[in-house]
Amino acid sequence: MAGKETQVPPKRFPLVQVVPNLEEWPLYRLSKDRERFLQKVIEEAKKELLQDHRGSASMQVLLANSLYHEKIRLTRKPWSVDPPDEKKFWAFVAAELTRLEQEAAPPASWNALLQTILERYGKEIQGNFHNPTYQFARHFLPIAFNRLLNASGNRNFSRVFGNRLGIHDRVHLDGNVERLRQIVRDGGTVVMVPTHFSNLDSILVGYAIDAIGLPPFLYGAGLNLFSARILAYFMNRLGAYKVDRRKKNKIYLQALKAYSTSALEEGCHSLFFPGGTRSRSGAIEKQVKLGLLSTVIEAQRRLLLENPDGPFQKIYVAPVVINYNFVLEAPALIKDHLQEIGRERFFVEQDRYSSSGKIARFILRFFTAGSDIRIRFGDPMDILGNPVDASGNSLDPNGKTVPLAAYFQHNGVLNEDTQRDFEYTKILADKVVHAFHRYNTVMASHVVAFTAFRLIQKRHPDLDLYQLLRLPEEDRWWDWQALSIAVTRLVAEIKARCDRGELYREPVLDQPTEAILQHGIRNLGIYHDKRALKVDKRSGKVSSDDLRLLLFYHNRMDGFGFEHHV
């Protein structure tokens, strides 16, 4: 059972590197062999596309369609990072398409054009791992983080150089870290799949991976991150490959998938956010995207087919749940969310959050935001979501070892079946979503937000969500006593679930309700300009500056069936 994890005793992070020799790091090996790898990616993508588009007519449709999408992108969404010769390249493709059609060219000529496009995409996607940069980053970043964390806003600058709390005291790493280390030590390939709430998730997970002593992971970063030159410098050298979300054409998507599949096939530990984008509502992902997850299934199937009788490289999926008291983007995210679900009904007020996108301020605020960021590593599972034992063997519901290869056998023979792969991807997606909820750590601030929002909802049963969010200031208050009673009940339910191994809670939830309330309200969305909840010192009443923010943090506990307990 994934249910009971071994309790890891408090550790001094960072842990010692599992693979001390960097020449054995998969990402390093890949960077030493870039040219060959790129060719492999292109070949794989081409193979897949040719399977779906046999013959000139079908290939022409594929190429023309991609050209069409690219032309639209070039005119409607140009970015500064786009290479200067983009227009020229696609004009060339257009001319080629016309020429090939007029000459009634043989399939080989059409395929050559596909090859040209794939080569361009491949080069664009490919990242590079540059070890000195990596070493610099891993030493520099924790120091920078520590300074920021200890600066604690502007209140106590002296602490920057005084008694410092390390990043390890502020960012709590929990979960069965030893199992994960063991798997990497034994040569397994790990795919890390975190929840996604904030732009800084990737940096945090990158830090966490290093802190638990794992070698760096391959990561597909949005191309927009590369537009900041300093970030691009690091990203390029830390093994990130580039993902351009504007490009939705089939050739590009196939190239991306081939990149991820091939890297996994070569044993490269990878990180991706299966939710795709940050959670707009603030809730844990209830659905995840299948595109990148499908590369996990495909890579494992290929590894099995390559060596049907012998030992095979095994891929493990490690869910990661990140919990914040404060998500800096919350105001903008929840606004997006409300617009998405309600569109015309939501009256959009002008607010200042969306316009203030200064990255320095962003990072500073993010890391000065209270002490508690919790990252929990879920138990690693196999690619179909089966739990694994200490040796990495997959286990069935009865605890018996499962031969992974048998999932890809038909009448006793390993075979390729893309429809099966697709269904397996959906199964994996469900298991990941389940794990996100299972390994969630409930924080006091979320409990308070959830309770407060539910109470105000119950107080106004006749109002719909949008009317509720526009309640005037004089109606946005809570009686301390009522809040306290409701929180006590909810916490009892949370504890019961934790005892059943369905959930985790942060230690403060074991304190008396009074302390939970104090701690929760103080930390909830702590550095927002408007407070989701605050206590009026004179009256002792709790009130809210912004119910949308309260909704955002309330949503964090959505999807667990807690609404019946408030």
């Binding site: 179909l384 069935d396 519901p397 499962v402 992974l404 009448n411 006793g412 023979v413 429809q419």
Partner: protein
């Protein structure tokens, strides 16, 4: 073990678990294309079948071998058809699970549901949440390591199949390879096999339609005529589809072989067990009397309780199913109850699509 499996891969037999009338009929269909292992739980019954070569009143094809070992089935077959009554299904799966591997394909033919906790009393006001009700494929997925699961539903009255009459069925599975393997194993010039990805839809359509078979038998038993029977079938189907929709089931599943197809067959045929339960109730027998004389389970009886409890939990009104519940379990007089069908205020004819 891997090499053993490879050598037998060419001609691995197909297994059927459960030698009731439908299990036996399916075994005979399979035996036209395959060697078949037919499992029965009771040793004395197995012995009797071996000597007489008869099961559930049907002559067994010579390519059918009787076994009492679930392990033998798991070890020698890739394709397994569990066809046991729903009340025994969980127990059977529990015994089979330790022998199963991920390369097994399971296609079940059981038209019932599993509830949790299993032996609870379900009255007129009882409520069951969706999570408390498992279809057989959900039960297999939860209890075993097998992912490639399917179901076999459709107008397949065992009596007619045993006579060699033509019929068709539908295999519901998320996996093409399961549908294709099932087709290959079952298809013959008298048996047509369709496929669908909507496993849950096919299962629920196949299960819920038994409710209507009971009602239809009652109307026949009271000789209320075919117009009344058609009324019950269509309005009843409408109730079932609404229930399905609250459970996120695509209504189309109810319009295929497992839904309408099976409704037409079982609501008209005295060979349907559920239909005869209704028929005999209308003739004045009590449920207890009827149950004492049938040797195989009429799944519809329990399904009436489960469907109503599901609807109660969703706040959905199901007048026809509720009426059947009163007749079956509260001794409401059949004729009065059916007359009440005429007094419902039904606003719209088709409102579920």
């Amino acid at each position: 073990m891997a090499s053993d499996l490879n050598t037998m891969s060419e001609q691995a037999p197909v297994a059927v678990i459960g030698a009731g009338s439908f299990g036996t009929a399916v075994s005979n269909l399979l035996a036209e294309n395959n060697r078949v292992l037919l499992y029965t739980r009771l040793p004395e019954r197995a012995e009797q079948m071996r000597t007489s070569r008869i099961s559930a009143g049907q002559k067994l094809n010579e390519r059918i071998e009787i076994t009492g070992s679930l392990q033998e089935i798991a070890d020698s077959c890739y394709l397994i058809f569990p066809i046991v009554p729903s009340e025994n299904f969980a127990g059977m799966i529990g015994e089979l699970a330790p022998f199963l591997r991920p390369d097994h394909f399971l296609i079940h033919g059981t038209k019932g549901l599993h509830i949790e906790p299993a032996n609870q009393h379900l009255g007129l006001e009882s409520k069951l949440k969706r999570q408390q009700v498992l279809t057989m494929s959900e039960l297999i997925l939860r209890e075993t390591v097998v992912l490639r699961v399917g179901c076999l539903h459709g107008p397949n009255l065992a009596f007619e199949i045993a006579q060699g009459l033509p019929a068709a069925t539908v295999i519901g599975s998320r996996f093409d390879e399961v549908i294709n393997e099932g087709k290959q194993a079952l298809r013959s010039n008298r048996f047509q096999v369709y496929g669908s990805y909507d496993v849950l839809g096919i299962e629920l359509a196949g299960v819920l339609k038994n409710i209507l078979a009971i009602g239809s038998g009652m109307i026949r038993g009271l000789a209320l005529g075919d117009n009344a029977r058609a009324l019950l079938m269509t309005r009843g189907l409408s109730e079932l589809i609404h229930l399905g929709k609250t459970l996120d089931i695509d209504p189309r599943a109810f319009l295929g072989l497992a839904g309408i197809g099976d409704i037409i067959a079982t609501c008209s045929s005295p060979h349907s067990r559920n239909y005869s339960v209704g028929f005999r109730l209308a003739q004045g027998e009590t449920l207890t009397e009827i149950l004492e004389t049938v040797d195989e389970v009429a799944e519809g009886i329990h399904t009436v309780q489960i469907a109503l409890a599901l609807a109660n939990a969703e706040g959905l009104s199901m007048p026809i199913v509720g009426m059947l519940h009163r007749i079956l379990f509260e001794n409401a007089p059949v004729s009065d109850s059916l007359q009440r069908l005429m007094s419902y205020r039904i606003n719209r004819d088709v409102d579920f699509i």
